[in-house]
């Protein structure tokens, strides 16, 4: 994907904004940013046909580093923002990016209902267990009993499992990846973008400045003589619901994802946990508003409506 050709005119470079990046040296976010750019190049999405919507925090700055339509929005509100942008123009490739506090804390209500809606969007969550830009407070994903060097006391709350939450909410593509395994991350992000429906990728991300517990070496370490991180697709795991009409299969696939997401060995599984292609919110909208089958909303002429029948009905 390094060189542009006539058939594949876009390279990862085309998605890079010419602007200074102010993330800390060694930040896991660099890996995620590169992977998103490489995935867009891999799929040859024209930069002006893509929109990246970010929340607030370190991850929020991602949109500034993207050479696409780019919206740096509000803390926790990524999901409402991507929802409306996609509804306005369903031909756009819309990506939401934000932190774990953004998605699972302040934005939890939006995260839940965004999953239920199953609009064709991709949500990449930068999960580093802490609120980094405010100097490292505990986030919803930090485990009970853990204390990073940035925290004054250990966490006394249970951590939230994003995979399980996403399954319960109705996301139809649920994955976990690791910020420093860019090759794998590109693959997962590409699949998520290609998936028709709401996709969640929870990306384990290192914060070299504040999270000394879950560092690069911790992720690279071993559990019970086995590597801590392993790939689901190398274990014969099949995340796909082959017959969405078969509710038993749907439940079984969710159940296996749920079990894998909290491996009792302490190891962490990466890859696609669950994938079920069912009609999206957009598909149902097209049935209601048939003009959307031809054109996205933004291209419809809404400015010459005839309200005479409405007025007659009030006589």
């Amino acid at each position: 994907m390094g060189t542009a050709t006539e058939l594949n005119p876009y390279t990862a470079q085309d998605y890079r904004a010419d602007i200074h990046n102010d993330w800390c040296p060694g930040c896991g976010d660099f890996g995620i940013l590169s992977a998103i750019q490489m995935a867009l190049a891999k799929l040859q999405v024209a930069p002006h046909r893509a929109a990246v919507v970010s929340g607030i925090g370190c991850s929020g700055k991602t949109s500034h580093y993207m050479n696409t339509y780019a919206f740096h929005t509000l803390h926790g509100r990524v999901m409402p923002c991507v929802t409306a942008l996609k509804l306005a123009n369903h031909d756009l490739t819309v990506l939401g990016v934000g932190g774990d506090g953004d998605a699972y804390g302040i934005g939890a209500g939006h995260f839940v209902n965004g999953g239920r809606r199953n609009l064709d969007i991709t949500y990449v969550v930068f999960n580093n267990d802490i609120y980094a830009l405010t100097k490292g407070q505990a986030s919803p994903t930090i485990a009970k009993g853990e204390k990073t060097k940035s925290m004054s006391e250990e966490s006394i709350m249970e951590s939230l499992n994003p995979i399980q939450l996403a399954l319960a909410c109705g996301y139809t593509f649920v994955a976990r990846a690791y910020a420093l395994d860019i090759k794998h991350l590109v693959e997962v992000v590409s699949q998520a973008i290609e998936h028709r429906g709401s996709s969640l990728i929870d990306v384990l991300q290192t914060c070299p400045t504040y999270n000394d517990l879950h560092s690069k070496s911790w992720y690279a370490g071993q559990v019970g003589g086995q590597p801590r991180l392993f790939k689901l697709d190398e274990t014969g795991y099949d995340p796909i619901v082959h017959n969405p009409a078969d509710l038993t299969e749907v439940t079984q696939k969710k159940a296996q994802a749920l079990l894998k997401s909290q491996d009792s060995s302490g190891r962490i599984a990466l890859g696609v946990y669950y994938k079920n292609e069912v009609p999206t919110y957009g598909d149902f909208l097209k049935e209601k508003i048939t003009a959307l089958a031809d054109k996205p909303l933004v291209e419809l002429d809404l400015y010459h409506r005839d309200i005479t029948p409405n007025l007659r009905g009030l006589m």
Binding site: H64, P80, A84, L297
Partner: protein, 657 residues
């Protein structure tokens, strides 16, 4: 009581428990009257409740335009005993029924089953007309082969009560019967006919027994003309459709939801997406992003919902989104407050909501027609100045039906403001927040080649990247806030305020929002020649027409300001903007809208040298002792009578619990 009654006006009320169908009856009657050529103003008071609590629907029927309700009732139709005597089953009764509102020689139509309660009514100057509804219903049911089932079909009482009113008034039954049929839609043929038949029996009974005794009659119908019977939620919805709104977002809340539901019903026909969100935070953010996405967008809510929106309002402002249009249906606050009752308590909040300096346009509609035209204009302002536009309406506007001329859409022009033109982009790079002479930067639409941009809720440079630069900060603040000034220069005064009367009268009434109707009607009644009173209606609160309004205020001998809130919010705004303090401030914070009579007594009180602050409730000027005295009086009323049973709403026949 209206002085020109009974010659030009008739005031009818139907009361009963919620869920008993009084809304359908009142609106059916209103439709038939509108079609006959009458001017109608229909006002409902209801509880935040689905079934059982008291609701009262008032129709003012006239041969000249009417814009408000009046206190006096000429004919009251009661579905239940509570309508007669109040909710005396409560430890602290909320109301004493409606008998005290009947005009002298006016009448109450009530069910024979409630005759015991009718005897509790202490007035001797009104007529009590008893109807054996159960017997009449039995006759109608027998015709349909359902003899002996009157108990099961009590739900049809609402149609009978309407029929009886029509009979007592001497109005022609057939158009009402037709409207009853229509109210059932296409599917319920047999049920509709049973209702029409029952209503007809009640009508005939009332004609025979009461129509000759009536002291008040409907005025003769004026010549028929094309008019519509519409309420604020529909008018706002139609304004949005006409404006080309593409996405409406909402979270259910009284009394705003009816607008979004109306738009939902129009989604397929008019290619509109109505997005029901998980909360109002999401509703406004989605609306902001839809606007960025290139479609006109709006959201509608009430005070508690708007309380969740200031964050999104600031987001819209700093990212210079072309919108959204935010419609606030005010209700009684604070907090959950009075969910279904009237208040104009969110003016200050709408002007100030959000951290920092948020450029915004704030406007307020005074009636159904303004709801339509203002909603349309709001989208033009949003696009032209790229800022959020707030339209303040309220519970009274949202739920009151009124007859208005058919909206004229021929002069309405869409203005989408400055847009990016890729073919005319000299330097090749597009800056979404470019500094321009007007302060408004052309906007591109996501998906458009060459128009890619960044934007952020952080302070940013012209490209939309974060910067904390001093000079950029000042320039951007001036750019954003300057757009309000630009709007102030470009939007004509006729959109910012309306003057009724010459403006050279000794007294100038000042008001906003739905108090307009009551003020216009009260002045017409007190002063048909227009010698004493004029009325200045403020329609745009930001930008404010400071110079023109100050000149009008200073010219008036005495200014009487009307506010539907405790804290004199309009008076305060006027003082801040113009330095002028209205000599009299009339406030109403009892959760009920001003009637024509209330405005009239307030004006007369002010002219007669009343206090600076005049508090109004229940049709009169009240003193500080009023609330507690009234509260005690109601408790006393309950003690005086044997205990009532709470209301029971009959279930539809065959309904399986």
């Amino acid at each position: 009581m209206s002085e020109n009654s009974p010659h030009s006006d008739f005031s009818w009320m139907i009361g009963g428990p919620q869920g008993s169908g009084i809304n359908v009856s009142a609106e059916t009657f209103a439709k038939a009257l509108s079609r006959a050529g009458y001017y109608v103003f229909a006002q409902i008071e209801y509880h935040s409740n689905i079934k059982g609590k008291h609701s009262a629907y008032r129709l003012r029927i006239s041969n000249q335009p009417v814009n408000s309700h009046v206190e006096a009732i000429h004919l009251l139709s009661a579905l239940d005993e509570e309508t007669l005597v109040g909710d005396l089953y409560h430890e602290f009764p909320a109301h004493p029924g409606h008998a005290h509102e009947i005009a002298p020689q006016g009448a109450i139509l009530y069910d024979r089953e409630h005759s015991k309660f009718a005897q509790w009514i202490e007035r001797k100057d009104i007529q009590l007309w008893e109807i054996p509804y159960a017997e009449l219903l039995e006759k109608a049911l027998a015709e349909s082969g359902k003899a002996g089932q009157a108990r099961a079909y009590r739900i049809m009482n609402n149609s009978m009560v309407l029929g009886a009113s029509v009979g007592a008034l001497g109005f022609d039954f057939d158009p009402v019967g037709e409207a009853i049929r229509e109210s059932f839609g296409s599917k319920a043929g047999k049920v509709a006919e049973m209702n029409v038949s029952a209503a007809r029996y009640a009508c005939e009974y009332a004609q025979e027994n009461f129509s000759r005794k009536t002291a008040y009659r409907l005025p003769p119908a004026p010549p028929r003309r094309e008019q519509i019977l519409i309420r604020g939620t529909q008018a706002v919805g139609l304004g949005k459709l006409q404006a080309g709104c593409g996405i409406q977002t909402y979270y259910p809340i009284s009394p705003a939801t009816d607008e979004s539901v109306y738009l939902e019903e129009n989604q397929r026909e008019h290619n509109l997406i109505v997005l029901q969100t998980e909360d109002e935070v999401s509703a406004i953010d989605a609306a902001v992003m839809a606007a960025h996405g290139g479609v006109r967008s709006s959201t509608s809510t009430s005070g508690p919902g708007f309380a969740l929106m200031p964050e999104g309002l600031g987001f819209a402002a700093i990212t210079e989104a072309p919108g959204p249009v935010v419609v606030i249906y005010q209700r009684g606050g604070p907090s959950t407050g009075l969910p279904t009752r009237w208040e104009q308590g969110d003016l200050t909040f709408a002007l100030a909501a959000g951290q920092g300096d948020i450029p915004r346009i704030v406007m307020a509609s005074g009636d159904a027609e303004e709801c339509f035209y203002d909603s349309f204009d709001a989208f033009n302002y949003a696009d032209r100045y790229q800022l959020p536009v707030i339209l303040l309406v309220d519970k009274h506007l949202s739920s009151s039906y009124q007859t208005v001329p058919v909206f004229d859409t021929t002069k309405l022009k869409i203005d989408r403001g400055p847009v990016f033109d890729p073919s005319n982009n000299g330097h090749g790079e597009f800056f979404r927040h470019a500094f321009t002479p007007t302060g408004v930067s052309p906007r591109s639409i996501p998906g458009q080649p060459g128009g890619m941009f960044w934007t952020t809720s952080d302070e940013h440079d012209p490209r939309g990247h974060i910067t904390e630069s001093i000079s950029n900060r000042m320039a951007m603040m001036e750019k954003r806030m300057g757009k309000v000034d630009l709007a102030g220069r470009e939007i004509p005064n006729e959109k910012k305020f309306s003057l009724f009367g010459s403006g050279k009268t000794p007294v100038l009434a000042l008001g906003w929002g739905s108090t307009k109707g009551a003020i216009v009607d009260a002045i017409r009644r007190l002063d048909p020649e227009g010698r004493t009173y004029s009325f200045l209606q403020i329609r745009m609160m930001r930008p404010f027409a400071t110079e023109a309004i100050r000149a009008l205020l200073e010219k008036a001998g005495k200014v009487v300001c009307f506010d539907g809130n405790y804290s004199e919010q309009l008076a305060r705004l006027v003082r801040v903007e113009t330095g002028f303090l209205p000599q009299h401030r009339v406030v109403k914070y009892d959760g009920r809208p001003f009637s024509e009579d209330e405005v009239a007594v307030a004006l007369e009180h002010a002219v007669a040298g009343g206090a600076e602050r005049i508090v109004i409730s229940g049709g009169r000027v009240v003193g500080p002792e009023f609330p507690m005295a009234e509260f005690d009086r109601m408790v006393e009323l309950r003690r005086k009578h044997e205990k009532m049973l709470p209301p029971m709403v009959p279930l539809p026949p065959g309904y399986n619990r």
